[in-house]
């Protein structure tokens, strides 16, 4: 193998530049892909009322333990997406802002009281409010961006907010953690009351 020469760095660079310089064919041109993903990702975290409600879902799930800890975060994105579908399709829903604020109040209270209703009732409560959260997002989706990439960013951000709540909720195993979670729930409920006051005023 002594006759073989290693390729020179310049030669490799030349190959790289030539490869990058290839003229593209005009098939499958897509536009606004990255912007679509990032604006979708940003949307759920852009409003504090949404953030508090979604993190509270994770906190409550962590307090309730299995199977609620995974059932609630499964229910919320799917039902929220259904609400988003309604908003996108132009189906009106009354009192969206009030319901979103109310969700923060009630979910905060559930965490503060460490409420343990039947699983179906907890899922129904979370699902009911998820429709309003989704509807609000659906009606606010900006035009001119990739619908799919926007949706992916949107759902991933929502799911990560729930996971954040669940991760914080892991402190529930310690006595001080249980107290801290209840205090956090009370703070969410207080903030939700402020949003509710603004929504109905």
């Amino acid at each position: 193998m002594s006759g073989r020469r290693a390729p020179s760095p310049e030669g490799l660079l030349a190959i790289l530049v030539i490869a990058l310089a290839m003229s593209p064919a005009r098939a499958h041109v897509q536009a606004g892909e990255a912007a679509g993903f990032f604006s979708g990702f940003r949307h759920p975290v852009s409003g504090l009322d949404h953030v508090l409600a979604m993190v509270s879902v994770g906190l409550w799930g962590a307090q309730l333990g299995a199977p609620a800890v995974w059932l609630l975060p499964v229910v919320f994105p799917m039902v929220m997406a259904f609400g988003g579908f309604l908003g996108l399709a132009g189906v009106p829903l009354p009192g969206v802002e009030v319901a979103i604020a109310l969700s923060a109040v009630l979910l905060g209270l559930a965490v503060a009281r460490e409420a343990r209703p039947p699983l179906a009732l907890a899922a129904a409560l979370v699902g009911f409010f998820a429709i309003f959260h989704g509807h609000a997002h659906g009606t606010e989706l900006p035009a001119g961006q990739s619908g799919l990439l926007y949706s992916i960013g949107f759902v991933v951000a929502t799911g990560l907010l729930h996971l954040t709540g669940i991760a914080i909720g892991l402190v529930h195993r310690w006595a001080w953690g249980r107290v801290a979670l209840r205090v956090a729930g009370a703070l969410v409920a207080i903030a939700g009351s402020g949003f509710l006051w603004k929504a109905i005023r």
Binding site: H28, W70, G84, L88, G147
Partner: protein
């Protein structure tokens, strides 16, 4: 001490810099040939890639034998559907990707207990439909039949990796994480369906469709 003159590689490098074309983002064409264009198409087209991933997750949840069936049935069906689409297909406004996301995502989220044959049938249906929809774009301005081969190869690799990963998961929490991923996929499909309604009359979201 003699100064070393730049080699041919250096001159080629600078010459190549001078001929660089304009940068166009988000084009699937790789410039490396039709098979690579097919590979690039699938990797950069979530409308096709996510349903394959969802199917692989579902097949993995159903076990190794179902995963093996999906591994071979999906790429072959994609190839068959694509070949049919190359000759017969035309772009459609039907929200096929959204419906695939919803159906496959729900199956994963609910961990529906399908027999192996049904998983293979599902893989065949997904491959045929999505492959058929790829056909018109590949025939019109894309890489043609060789591109289909690239797509089928990536589909094979994605199913092999994802299904094998899921089959290997034994901890209940890990399997639940897969089901949560399924719920996310279904949620994305629902939003995409709503988006299709909203943009009805504008450009429909169909894999591989040419955008003017």
């Amino acid at each position: 001490m003699r100064t070393r003159l730049p080699g041919a590689g250096t001159w080629t490098f600078f010459a190549a810099l001078l001929i660089s074309g304009r940068a166009d983002a988000h084009l699937v064409t790789t410039g490396l040939g039709p098979a690579y264009d097919g590979i690039g198409h699938l990797l950069l087209t979530p409308e096709d890639l996510v349903p394959i991933l969802a199917l692989a997750l579902f097949a993995g949840l159903r076990g190794a034998s179902a995963g093996r069936l999906a591994l071979f049935v999906l790429p072959l069906a994609w190839l068959a559907g694509g070949l049919a689409g190359l000759n017969l297909g035309r772009a459609t406004a039907a929200p096929v990707p959204a419906l695939s996301f919803i159906l496959l995502g729900l199956l994963v989220a609910a961990d529906v207990k399908f027999p192996d044959g049904a998983v293979a049938g599902l893989a065949g249906a997904v491959g045929l439909v999505h492959g058929f929809l790829n056909g018109p774009a590949l025939a019109g301005a894309g890489p043609g039949a060789l591109g289909l081969l690239g797509i089928a190869a990536v589909a094979f690799a994605v199913v092999a990796l994802a299904a094998a990963l899921v089959v290997s998961l034994k901890a209940p929490a890990a399997r639940i994480a897969v089901r949560v991923a399924g719920s996310w996929i279904a949620a994305i499909g629902l939003l995409l369906l709503g988006w299709t309604f909203r943009t009805r009359g504008a450009i429909p979201t169909v894999p591989g469709m040419l955008v003017p």
